[in-house]
Structures are given as C-alpha cells and as structure tokens.
Symmetry: C2
DNA sequence: CCCATATATCGACGCCTGTCAATATAGGTG
DNA sequence: CACCTATATTGACAGGCGTCGATATATGGG
C-alpha cells in the first residue's frame, strides 16, 4: 500500500511537506462537489430518507409535500436536483410521478469520500 | 461556533410514511446537511485530498495556497469551515498552522449516508 | 524594539440557491 | 369536448456563500 516516493531533502526551517501522491484535480473536484451539493440541504436529505423508508421504496410528490411542510413547486425542485445528481429515479405512472432511490447510489457516494 | 456531532437517529415524532419506518427529522437533517455543505465545494474537496496525500498527513496553509490558485484568506476561510465541520484538525507550531484529517471523520461521514 | 513572515479576520461585492405565487403541461374522467 | 387533479416550469425575491483586498494578530529574528 505504501508507494515508494522520492523524498526531497528535508528543509531546515521550511514548512513544505508536499509528497508526490496523486491529488484530486479541479475537474473531478467540481463533479464530486456537485454530488455533495445535492446532499447539502436538510429538506433534500429528508426527501431521500422518506423515499427510502416508503412502502415499496418509492413515493410520489403528494406524499412528500406534507411531511416537509413545503410548497409543491419547491418539492418538485428539490426532487429534480436529486434526480440530476443521480441519486433518485423518476417514473411517471398515470398522473403521478414516483421517485425511488437509484440502487447503489448512496453507497457509491460514500465511496467517493473514501477515495478522496 | 456550531459544534457538529454525528447524532444517532433517536428521533422524536417525525413524519410518518406508509411503511411507518423511522425517518430523518428536521433537526438531524439540519446537522447532517451542514456536514455535507462543508464537502459541497470543489476547493474544499481538493484541500482534503491534498492534506490526506501530504507527507506526514499534514499540511500548512502555505502548501495549500498555490495548488488551489486561491488567495491566502480564502484558503484560511475554507480550512475553518472544514475544521468546524469536524473533518480537519488544526495544530499551530511556531508561525505555521498544520492541518490534518481527523481520524475516522470521512468514514463516519460515509456512514451517515448509509443510515439515511 | 522594530521588522518580516504566516495566518486569521473583516468588509464588500457578485453569484448562487431555496422559497413562494402564478402559470403551464399532462393525464384521467365525465 | 370541458373539467379536475397531479406535477413541472417560470419569475421574482431574500439570504447565503465564495472570493478578494485590506487589515489585524501572532511568532520569530536582528
């Protein structure tokens, strides 16, 4: 696991401790930040939690508006953000739109933290 | 500032779903959202990555300013957010401030996603 | 004590975001 | 068709956030 690295002559009074290990680039950081941005709102976290706990693993907007005490447009807005982030799946059946967790999405997100 | 702890879901009466399973309450959601807010910025993700990959597991501000191409006050600001979120530890030695990952913090954060 | 360096804090500015009211779209029903 | 319901979209507004420049604080050296 320990990679071999070429160590520079340790400076006397310097503060630099950089090693040559791979580090998150700007573009990757941008993408991963967007994923966490989707999770960075209490109402969206509650949406995920409610959908996950719902019967059949899915819930429609009418089930989500009341427990969050938010207007229907706002809930739809949050759901769209979660869908765009790849965390929720949307399926329309008749007049209703059913939202469910994308399988493995939360686990994959957790994995992002491990490989930082 | 706001001390951040990772709380166990000892929820009071939150909302009820058709399945009756426990669901994230507003206060817990608020705290956990704040944790993800700290991760919801590309430059902060890069800071964590650089600190993690740094020799000795720590880095000072002077090591972090250049790779991010940000001003020193901005870097200090981001570091403060990460420290307040419980992700980074700050230790001052002489003129320099050394930042290191809080052991297990990233893993605990990943665990929050699993118990949503 | 005066100065140089490293870091933190402050004030301001522009942009992004969460929320709502109003409206649009779509699908079901008579 | 007309009508109702469920959901999505739009526009607007307030507040939060990332960034910078200027300044304050702390530490070490002559």
């Amino acid at each position: 696991m320990t990679a071999l690295q070429i160590v520079e002559p340790a400076s006397a009074a310097a503060c630099c401790t950089s090693s040559g290990l791979p580090v998150l680039g700007p573009e990757e950081a941008q993408g991963k930040a967007q994923l966490f941005k989707a999770l960075a709102d209490p109402n969206r976290l509650r949406l995920l939690s409610i959908v996950k706990a719902s019967d059949g693993g899915e819930a429609c907007v009418c089930d989500l508006t009341e427990p969050l005490d938010l207007g229907q447009p706002t809930v739809s807005h949050h759901l769209k953000i979660l869908v765009d982030a790849g965390l929720l799946h949307r399926e329309k059946r008749g007049t209703w739109a059913y939202y469910s967790l994308v399988p493995g999405a939360l686990e994959r997100t957790a994995g992002v933290l491990a490989e930082l």
